[in-house]
């Protein structure tokens, strides 16, 4: 078999960490972007401070703080067990690292969302404002309009986010980098396993890129979609 059970568990652990922390990061990023546009001065300042803090501090430091901090804090036993390969005793640690990873990307994603909204241009923003829609409907329209601008940098950031999940290996949380490191130490075939790790990470990064290209096509403005369908099949 090309990949051992440990490597498969590592891949599964990385994917769960990435999916959960990535989703949370997008959610926090949206909240911070919304807060940065708030009319309330206090909310705006708090959101900007959070964006700058999360962008200025390395993810590795967030992960170390979460990892060592979990050992100092009271344990929470009723957290669901979702991280494959991580023992039940360290599931709380895995949750803390997931949160740290999300915080490491949230500020960057908030900036991407704000830039995408600004790229729509003042006339379109004013046009949306005078429609008299509810806040939620207005936000949904803005999200739909700016999606095609926001998706490419969001994809790039989430690839970087995938790479950051490797910091989980600093603690006993199962992930791909940890599995590669473990297998390399156990078998002394360091080059083999390091190359295997490079290939798997590159493949996962490629898949993420493809997913976002697909989303980009799905969320492209109607005019761009029409132009694409008019192209002859052989072009």
């Amino acid at each position: 078999m090309l990949l051992s059970a440990d490597v498969w568990l590592g891949i599964a652990g990385t994917l769960v960490l990435w999916a959960l922390s990535g989703t949370l990061a997008v959610g926090i990023g949206l909240i911070l972007a919304g807060g940065s546009l708030s009319d309330g001065r206090f909310v705006r300042l708090l959101a900007r401070a959070s964006v700058n803090l999360t962008r200025g501090i390395p993810t590795s430091l967030f992960v170390i703080a979460a990892g060592i901090g979990t050992m100092h804090l009271v344990s929470v036993s009723d957290l669901p067990i979702v991280f494959p390969g991580t023992t039940a005793a360290f599931q709380q640690l895995a949750w803390a690292i997931m949160l740290a990873l999300a915080l490491g990307s949230a500020g960057h994603l908030a900036e991407i969302f704000l830039a995408a909204r600004a790229a729509l241009g003042r006339p379109r923003l004013e046009q949306a404002a005078v429609l008299g829609l509810s806040r939620l409907r207005h936000a949904a329209i803005m999200a739909r309009e700016s999606a095609s601008i926001a998706l490419p940098p969001t994809g790039t950031r989430l690839i970087h986010h995938l790479h950051n999940t490797a910091f989980a290996a600093l603690f006993p949380v199962a992930d791909l980098f940890g599995a590669i490191e473990g297998q390399a130490s156990a078998t002394f075939r360091v080059f083999h396993f390091a190359l295997l790790g490079c290939a798997i990470y590159a493949a996962l990064s490629g898949l993420t890129w493809l997913l976002f290209r697909f989303l980009e096509a799905a969320f492209a403005p109607p005019s761009a979609q029409r132009a694409r369908t008019r192209l002859p099949a052989w072009s």
């Binding site: 501090i57 390395p58 430091l61 490797a166």
Partner: protein, 228 residues
């Protein structure tokens, strides 16, 4: 504690923020130089460089922490050199692509003008295209450098005593929650300070550098006009 975070643990100096900055500047400068060569090669020979461009894309798909691990374990480099090589390659993958994309957008009328003026190819690339590209791509480069400065934290995997490793070691032995929190908040503050200084300092230094380049360029074009 702050001194240890700034210059490293006793017996392991230089370390801390100082070592992080050394790694950052060394790898950033080497990657910028290599990125310029890469961008020039890709634009001058677009088809022949496809393999190189593919390799650069592949490089961007590999986490920095794995690159550092790879170089530390499968090469004859010492841990410090392996860290530097890993950081340089990682930065090169991003900087090269940024420079290539901007250099591709070099305006054709300016290129034609240089050709009509009889400028040599090397002078055109070095005195016109490269400064134009660097100037236009500055904000993208700064964004990458901010990321690179923070990513020096990946050297923690080799136990090199830069700021993240020092903070990790100190916080692991901290006897109380308060001390642990103080160490990590101080390390975060140092990273934030360094990032802000970088954002302020680099455009200032770049402005000075480009002023000098412009003066040289003006002197060069005056000499060319006199010659013509």
């Amino acid at each position: 504690m702050v001194l240890n975070l700034l210059i490293g643990l006793p017996g392991d100096r230089p370390g801390g923020l100082l070592l992080s900055l050394v790694y950052f500047f060394a790898s950033g400068a080497a990657a910028l130089a290599a990125g310029c060569v890469y961008a020039l090669a890709c634009v001058a020979l677009p088809r022949a460089s496809l393999l190189l461009q593919g390799a650069s894309a592949m490089l961007r798909g590999i986490p920095l922490i794995l690159l550092v691990f790879l170089f530390a374990n499968v090469s004859w480099f010492a841990a410090g050199v392996a860290g530097l090589v890993g950081l340089t390659l990682y930065s090169f993958g991003h900087v090269g692509e940024v420079l290539r994309s901007f250099l591709t957008a070099y305006p054709k009328p300016v290129a034609d003008q240089a050709r009509l003026m009889g400028m040599s190819r090397s002078r055109d690339w070095l005195q016109l295209r490269l400064p134009w590209t660097l100037w236009r791509s500055w904000s993208a480069l700064i964004t990458h450098w901010v990321s690179l400065l923070k990513d020096t934290g990946a050297l923690v995997v080799l136990g090199i005593g830069e700021l993240t490793t020092t903070a990790k070691v100190l916080s692991e032995v901290a006897p109380s929650f308060e001390q642990w929190a103080t160490i990590l908040i101080s390390a975060a503050g140092l990273y934030l300070g360094a990032t802000l200084a970088l954002i302020q300092f680099v455009p200032f230094a770049a402005g000075k550098l480009f002023k000098i380049l412009q003066q040289h360029e003006r002197a060069g074009s005056q000499a060319t006009e006199r010659y013509v």
